[in-house]
């Protein structure tokens, strides 16, 4: 598969594809972080996660439209407003959904899966009715356009870099929230031993709701970032959901580092192979390898050892 390329060409190909993989990596990390928090905390699979992400993307789309019409002078900064808005809206909806249905289903994880799938169908159709079936894109602010020329064969687009920076800073933020804050301590206490956590006075139902809202909010930010590198349609979220689940499961459900490592591995493998094989075969091969590894090592790459 490497025939006909000189070694320097191969290096450039790897660098280019590696960078293309990095923007996929950013999307995976952003989506998987929210999912991993929810899954790790409550064992709940949120099938509507992709739709929460798309909600964030549409929020960004609307915000950019608003800035274009009313505040054109501030257009360069609209993205940051959109990010905050996306987080708030998605988190609020997440808390509502948790209150409405998830909290009744904690002891039936498989049923949660089905219920959230139903939610995702409804959300998708709602987007289709409101925004139309066509994909929409946002105008990038000027400072985000263009690319940085590294060598004459390798160039890095600025929007991709920016999204990656967002992904990594959110990952760091989540790390601090989970491992360095009082809230994180409570979350981890509930994950490790719910009855004992309740016994020492932690409001586990409140923690659940906050965590679900946080996960959905991060999905919203993911959606905001996603608009920088791709266009948004009603079913764009579904396209990523299976990969994201695999990222989370592959990384080991309760390990944030594992999630990031597996997001990196999967996205890099996929984009590097994409250059040499057709896109669909690259994806098939990547997924097959991941599923294969999961069959041999079902607990994922970095499993948290919890006594159950």
């Amino acid at each position: 598969m490497f025939d006909g390329y000189t070694s320097s060409e191969l290096m450039s190909i790897f660098a280019m594809q590696g960078f293309a993989g990095l923007s996929l990596f950013s999307v995976f990390v952003l989506m998987a972080l929210g999912l991993a928090i929810i899954f790790g905390q409550m064992g709940v699979i949120n099938m509507a996660h992709g739709e929460f992400m798309i909600l964030g993307a549409y929020t960004t789309y609307l915000t950019s439209g608003f800035f274009q019409s009313y505040l054109p002078s501030l257009f360069g900064g609209y993205f940051f407003v959109a990010m905050v808005l996306a987080f708030l809206i998605c988190a609020a909806l997440g808390a509502f959904v948790e209150w409405l249905m998830i909290r009744r289903l904690y002891h039936r994880p498989l049923d949660t899966l089905l219920a959230t799938w139903g939610l995702s169908l409804i959300m998708q159709q709602a987007y289709r009715s409101i925004f139309g079936a066509r994909e929409v894109g946002v105008d990038l602010p000027e400072w985000m356009m263009g690319a940085i020329q590294v060598t004459d064969l390798v160039e890095l687009p600025i929007n991709g870099l920016f999204v990656m920076i967002i992904a990594l800073s959110i990952a760091v933020g989540v790390y601090f929230l989970m491992y360095r804050s009082g809230y994180g301590k409570k979350v981890r206490a509930v994950v490790q031993n719910r009855p004992m956590a309740e016994a020492v006075g932690i409001n586990s139902a409140g923690i659940d709701r906050a965590t679900f809202a946080l996960g959905c909010g991060i999905a919203g930010v993911a959606g905001a970032a996603f608009t920088m590198i791709g266009s948004t349609g009603p079913s764009s979220g579904q396209a990523y959901i299976v990969d994201t689940f695999l990222v989370v499961v592959f990384g080991g459900a309760q390990s944030l580092i594992g999630t990031i490592v597996s997001a990196f591995g999967i996205s890099q493998a996929q984009s590097t192979m994409e250059f040499f094989l057709s896109g669909s075969m690259a994806k098939v091969l990547t997924l097959l390898v991941v599923v294969g590894i999961l069959m041999l090592r079902p607990e994922g790459l970095m499993a948290l050892k919890v006594r159950r």
Binding site: I45, M101, L121, Q125, M295
Partner: protein, 402 residues
């Protein structure tokens, strides 16, 4: 449970339900519907095979597979490959640059039949493959997962990933599989034209026959000790394991059984609809199959048949008049079934209709005694306050008689 004479069984309550379904499918629907509609009902029924498999696998044994579309598709593709080869005789495909291979291969510049298509010239091999291929894959997946005690949500996600893989593979390998269009333009089965109204009606009855065969197999399994162990495994897996049963073996068995049912359903689907395409096997299609089972009642094999019929009929009804409303209805159905009536139609029937039946028919005491515990167990209790740690399946639905 098994009465001495098979005829007597038809007079029991369970037997009567089977008879009622048979009357509906064999007498009422064929009389009431024109051949086109009947053909559509036949298509819905092919999904009932999958739903029955899911009742055994998910309802009884607690293994939720979101990849049943894979097995449905494999069965369907096996049958479609045979039919396609039969339709692609050198005479019929004389205008192609390579006569004698399926048209889509010719379009994709293939010059000879791929090796895995060769055996599908034989009808008996095809029949074997319709069940064999799905079961083999289910065995491999099941063996890898269940012996390592992977279950629950993980299993669901991995089966979903497998559905994604298969769909991408089929769409990507257009020359070998027909790509996104699938395998179309199927004409004859061993020289018998399957496209006429008459043939479609006959295929409908064949489908109903196969469905009852599957129902009886499922009933046989659920009424044996085997079925009791499956249910016990769902409720208290470790206790079953500590009692000396090989839990993984039972799980592999029931997963393979569900795959076999789905494969048969897929093959019937190809025959009845006349083509097979990746859109029937992907993630969305696979998860919809779960709702057929959930709506009918995840513990009732007969309920699964009604569930498949109702959801699909509603789907075509909505799609004809209000296509944009269908996803809302479907989503609400998913949420409603899970939150409001986890035992589905069968559960509602048990709670509300069965007592009426008892009153009306004044059934003999034996039957009443038999019905009572089932009613009690079926009382809705989804919001019951339970200690929320430990085994998630513990509280759920009554694993009692379906």
């Amino acid at each position: 449970m098994k009465s001495s004479s098979p005829l007597k069984w038809f007079a029991t309550r369970e037997g009567l339900y089977f008879v009622a379904l048979a009357v509906l499918l064999v007498v009422l629907l064929p009389l009431a519907l024109d051949p086109f509609r009947l053909n559509m009902v036949g298509k819905y029924l092919t999904y009932a095979f999958v739903a029955i498999g899911l009742v055994m696998c998910w309802g009884k044994a607690g293994i939720l597979s979101l990849g049943q579309g894979v097995f449905f598709g494999l069965g369907g593709y096996c049958m479609a490959m045979f039919l396609k080869l039969e339709a692609s005789t050198p005479e019929a495909t004389a205008i192609q640059s390579t006569p004698g291979i399926p048209d889509f291969m010719d379009w994709n510049q293939l010059t000879e039949l791929p090796w895995f298509w060769e055996p599908f010239h034989s009808f008996s091999f095809t029949l074997l493959a319709v069940i064999g291929v799905p079961v083999l894959l289910a065995f491999v997946i099941g063996f890898a997962m269940f012996t390592r005690r992977v279950g629950g949500v993980y299993f669901a996600i991995i089966t979903q990933a497998i559905a994604a893989i298969l769909t991408i593979l089929i769409i990507g390998q257009q020359g070998y599989t027909g790509g996104v269009n699938g395998i179309t333009d199927l004409q004859t089965l061993n020289g018998w034209d399957i496209r006429t109204d008459e043939a479609r009606t006959i295929l409908y009855f064949v489908c109903v026959g196969m469905l009852f065969l599957c129902l009886f197999v499922a009933r046989l399994v659920q009424n044996r000790k085997l079925g009791r162990i499956l249910v016990a495994m769902n409720a208290q897996e470790n206790r079953v394991r500590f009692s000396g049963y090989d839990v993984a073996a039972f799980k592999i068995f029931v997963f393979c059984l569900a795959a076999a049912f789905a494969g048969v359903g897929g093959a019937m689907f190809t025959l009845i609809v006349g083509f097979m395409s990746p859109s029937f096997i992907g993630i969305v299609a696979s998860i919809e199959m779960v709702i057929f089972c959930a709506l009918g009642g995840r513990l009732s094999i007969l309920g699964a048949v009604y569930g498949a019929l109702l959801v699909n009929a509603a789907k075509s009804g909505f799609s004809e008049s209000f296509p944009e409303l269908w996803p809302f209805a479907m989503g609400a159905l998913f949420i409603g079934v899970v939150l409001a009536f986890p035992n589905g139609l069968a559960g509602l029937y048990q709670t509300y209709v069965m007592p009426l039946e008892d009153k009306i028919f004044k059934r003999n005491k034996g039957a009443q005694l038999e019905a009572k515990p089932a009613e009690k167990a079926a009382e809705p209790k989804p919001t019951a306050e339970k200690t929320p740690d430990y085994d998630p399946m513990i509280d759920s639905y009554s694993p009692e008689k379906s």
